[in-house]
């Protein structure tokens, strides 16, 4: 299991702030997780295909090829707009 967090516009679009997610195999790439989430249909597919989607693993921004292990924290969010 990994914890997935959704922030800002994504959380509103998905009506979901956080979920526990079962990895298909022992480990998964972010790309694989995105494919599985997109398979839920809209709004998930739309959000997961957004070119600007950012993802962090254990609070560090990663590429979609990054590998996730059980116990990791995955965060999905749009481009940041602080400051």
């Amino acid at each position: 299991m990994v914890k997935i967090l959704y922030f800002a516009r994504l959380r509103d679009q998905l009506s979901c702030a956080e979920e526990q997610f079962e990895l298909a195999v022992g480990k998964s790439s972010i790309d694989e997780i995105k494919r599985q989430l997109a398979a839920r249909g809209d709004p998930w597919s739309e959000v997961m295909q957004d070119m600007n989607l950012l993802v962090a693993v254990n609070q560090v921004i990663v590429e979609p090829t990054a590998i996730v292990e059980p116990g990791d924290e995955v965060g999905f969010f749009p481009p940041v707009t602080g400051g």
């Binding site: 967090l5 516009r9 965060g75 969010f77 940041v80 707009t81 602080g82």
Partner: protein, 149 residues
């Protein structure tokens, strides 16, 4: 010193803390970001700032480390507010001290450019017709990439 907080902050206190490193330092540069008048869009009644707790602090701490590697700066203080804000409110403070002004100016601007593009904060404009998430600006990305050259 990095703080993410709802409460307002006092520039005077932050400045005093940076001044405390004198006489080792000769320069203090501060940046404060304020809530503007929402581009004269009268339907906007306020601003809401959300963040990714934990990651925000981690990213900012890394940026401070990066700045300290690049410039001989002594101390950095960063405060970013979250939650509901209204026009004219202080949003963000970055203060840097150093022996010389070049390092203090460069590090302060570097930190703001990367805070804007790397730290997980999101702004939502509150309107009578409903809330709208603010779009990221391409110009902010461009300003951050300047530092790579």
């Amino acid at each position: 010193m990095i703080k993410v907080q709802q409460e307002d902050f006092s520039l005077a206190s932050e400045y005093e803390a940076l001044w405390a490193d004198a006489p080792k330092i000769g320069a203090i540069v501060t940046f404060t970001g304020l809530v503007r008048d929402f581009n004269a869009d009268e339907s906007v009644t306020g601003l809401f700032l959300e963040h990714y707790p934990g990651m925000t602090e981690k990213v900012l701490a890394q940026l401070v480390e990066d700045a300290k590697k690049r410039w001989p700066i002594i101390n950095v203080r960063i405060i970013h507010r979250i939650g509901e804000l209204k026009a004219s409110d202080q949003i963000v403070f970055v203060g840097v001290n150093s022996e010389h002004r070049e390092a203090a100016f460069a590090a302060c601007e570097f930190l703001m450019d990367f805070l804007k593009t790397k730290a997980p904060f999101w702004k939502k404009e509150q309107r009578q017709s409903g809330d709208t998430w603010v779009e990221a600006k391409a110009t902010d990305q461009e300003r951050a990439t300047r530092w790579q050259s």
